[in-house]
C-alpha cells in the first residue's frame, strides 16, 4: 500500500503537542494499512464528510456486541481500510492491570489488527482499532483462551460497566466500587454480550461525589458514594490548615503563590449551601443542610472525612446530546447501602436496576435512552414505577417539574363526581 500525500494532516504535526498523525505514520512502517487511514482522513478533510460507513453484521459467534463493523465507502482507493472493524475489550475494574497484560494485548493486536489502540474509550473499554472480518474469530479465540479477557458491550446491549479507583486507592470511597462493578459485570453477562434493550444502557460507579468516572454525566445508571451521618471533623487538623501547617488541597494548587490559606474565602464562603461557620477557632457544619458536594473535604482532606454511615445515591438517565441536548442523570434513589447478601449479590441494587429495565423495555421507544423516556413520560410516573416517595431533592426548582398530582382514588368521588352538584356549593 502506497503512501498518500496528506498536506492537511501534516499541519497537525506542527504544533507542540503529540500528534496522532505522527503516530500513524510511524505505525504505517509496520502496518501499511495505516497509510490508507491517513489517505482516507485527508480525503474527508477535503470533502468535509466522513468516508466511514456506519455499522454492519460482523461479530463473533454467540455474541451480539463488542465488535463494531466499520467499512470504507471508498475501498477502491484505500483497500487497506476496506474493512476496519473496532473491537472493544472489557477493561478490568478501575483499569488496574500490569504492563505484562498491556504488552499481551498489544501483541495480540499487532498479530490480528492494525496495532492501533485507543485507551480507553468513554465506556472504559480498551478499544482496538482496525481489523478485518476473517481475523475476528481467531482474535476472539486467543483473547479468551490465552489472555483471559472478554469483549465489552456495544449496540443495544448493557455497555461495559466502569468504576473509579474507589477503596483500592482512595480514602473517600464510600463503597467498594470495584466489587460492585465486577459483581454486576458477572451478573449481567447476557445483557453485556447480547442486545436486550431499546438502546444502549450504561452503568458507572463512583465511590464519592467527586465522581471520578463522571457517572452522573455519562451513565444511564450512576451509583455515587455518599454518607448519611455527619462529616467527621478533626478540629486539631482544621487549626493545622489555618496555621499553614498543612497545605490546602493536599498541595494540589501549590504551583503559584495564592497567599496564606483563608478558611473563610476558600471553604466557608464556597460551601454551596452555606452550612459551615466558625465559632472561635472551631469549625461547625449544619449537616442537615450539607449537600455532600465534597468541596470542603477536598480542600482539607486531613481535617474532614465522610461520615461513617456510608452507601450510595443512584441517579438515572444521563445522555449525550443526540436528542434534546445533553442531560445529567436525575437523582432517583437518595440512599442505598451497598452490601452483598449471603449469595454474594448486591440484591438491593439489582432490584433497582431491574425495575428500571422492566419499565424502559416496555415503554421506551426504539433508540430512546432511559433519560429521554423519563423526560417524555415524566418524573412523577417514573418515581411511581420505582415505588419511590417523592422528596424535595427530586425537583429541579419549584414549579419547573412539579410532582404532586392527585390520583383518582385520592379524590372523593373520583373523576366521575357530579360537577353540577359540586358547583352549586362551590362557585367557580
Amino acid at each position: 500500500m502506497p503512501k498518500h500525500d496528506t498536506p492537511l494532516l501534516d499541519e497537525l504535526e506542527k504544533g507542540p503537542w503529540p500528534s496522532f498523525v505522527t503516530d500513524l505514520k510511524r505505525q504505517a512502517e509496520k502496518k501499511p494499512e495505516c497509510f490508507d487511514i491517513l489517505g482516507q482522513l485527508e480525503l474527508s478533510y477535503k470533502d468535509k464528510i466522513t468516508h466511514w460507513k456506519h455499522g454492519g453484521i460482523v461479530g463473533v459467534f454467540g455474541y451480539g456486541g463488542g465488535i463494531v463493523g466499520r467499512y470504507s465507502d471508498v475501498p477502491d482507493r484505500f483497500p487497506g481500510v476496506a474493512h476496519f472493524h473496532t473491537v472493544r475489550l472489557n477493561q478490568p475494574s478501575s483499569m488496574f492491570y500490569n504492563s505484562a497484560k498491556l504488552r499481551d494485548i498489544c501483541n495480540l493486536w499487532e498479530k490480528y489488527g492494525s496495532g492501533m489502540t485507543n485507551m480507553h474509550g468513554s465506556t472504559g473499554d480498551l478499544v482496538l482499532l482496525g481489523t478485518t472480518t476473517p481475523n475476528l474469530e481467531p482474535l476472539f479465540y486467543d483473547l479468551t483462551h490465552d489472555l483471559n479477557q472478554d469483549l465489552g458491550g456495544s449496540g443495544s446491549n448493557l455497555r461495559t460497566p466502569s468504576c473509579c479507583l474507589g477503596r483500592a486507592r482512595c480514602e473517600w470511597g464510600c463503597f467498594d466500587t470495584q466489587d460492585l462493578c465486577h459483581t454486576l459485570t458477572m451478573h449481567y453477562q447476557d445483557e453485556i454480550h447480547r442486545p436486550a434493550f431499546p438502546y444502549k444502557f450504561k452503568f458507572k460507579f463512583s465511590g464519592c461525589p467527586n465522581d471520578c468516572v463522571a457517572a452522573i454525566a455519562r451513565s444511564d445508571f450512576a451509583v455515587i458514594g455518599t454518607w448519611r451521618d455527619d462529616i467527621r471533623i478533626d478540629q486539631a487538623a482544621v487549626k493545622g490548615y489555618i496555621s499553614g501547617e498543612f497545605a490546602a488541597n493536599a498541595g494540589a494548587h501549590s504551583g503559584k503563590d495564592w497567599g496564606k490559606f483563608d478558611i473563610k474565602a476558600e471553604v466557608l464562603d464556597l460551601c454551596p449551601t452555606g452550612c459551615m461557620w466558625m465559632e472561635g477557632d472551631t469549625l461547625k457544619i449544619d449537616n442537615s443542610e450539607c449537600t455532600r458536594c465534597m468541596h470542603c473535604l477536598n480542600v482539607m482532606p486531613r481535617a474532614l472525612r465522610p461520615g461513617l454511615q456510608q452507601g450510595a445515591t443512584i441517579c438515572v438517565g444521563a445522555k449525550a446530546p443526540i436528542l434534546d441536548g445533553a442531560q445529567f442523570a436525575t437523582m432517583t434513589v437518595p440512599f442505598v447501602e451497598v452490601k452483598k447478601n449471603e449469595d454474594g449479590e448486591f440484591a438491593e441494587i439489582v432490584e433497582v436496576i431491574e425495575k428500571i429495565w422492566d419499565w424502559w423495555m416496555e415503554v421506551g421507544k426504539n433508540r430512546e435512552r432511559v433519560g429521554e423516556t423519563i423526560q417524555r413520560i415524566g418524573l412523577p410516573t417514573f418515581l411511581k414505577v420505582m415505588e419511590i416517595t417523592p422528596a424535595p431533592q427530586h425537583i429541579k426548582e419549584p414549579r419547573s417539574n412539579p410532582y404532586v398530582f392527585w390520583q383518582e382514588d385520592e379524590v372523593e368521588g373520583g373523576w366521575e363526581r357530579d360537577v353540577v352538584e359540586f358547583r352549586k356549593r362551590n362557585a367557580q
Binding site: 453484521i57 463494531v68 463493523g69 449496540g155 442486545p195 436486550a196 431499546p198 426504539n366
Partner: protein, 77 residues
C-alpha cells in the same frame, strides 16, 4: 396465555422473513405476542441468532435483527 418459546420464535422468524422491513428493532417483535414480556421476546430473538436463522445488524450504538440474508451486508453486495 403467552406463547411457548418455540411458537414465539416461529412468529418472530416469520415476521423477519416476510415483513416489509428487512431490519427490525427488538420492539418491533413485541407485537408477535402481546402476552409475552419484553425479556421473553428478546431471548427468543437472540436464540434465533444463535441458531443462525437471524443475524444482528449493529451501527455500533443500536442493534437490529434481520432474517439470515436480509440484513444490509456491507461485504457481500
Amino acid at each position: 396465555m403467552a406463547l411457548s418459546r418455540e411458537d414465539l420464535k416461529a412468529k418472530i422468524l416469520e415476521k423477519a422473513l416476510t415483513g416489509p422491513k428487512a431490519q427490525l428493532y427488538v420492539k418491533d417483535f413485541y407485537a408477535c405476542d402481546p402476552e409475552s414480556g419484553p425479556r421473553d421476546i428478546k431471548n427468543a430473538a437472540n436464540d434465533l441468532v444463535k441458531e443462525g436463522k437471524m443475524t444482528f445488524w449493529s451501527s455500533g450504538s443500536t442493534t437490529m435483527y434481520a432474517a439470515q440474508g436480509r440484513a444490509k451486508d456491507e461485504e457481500n453486495r
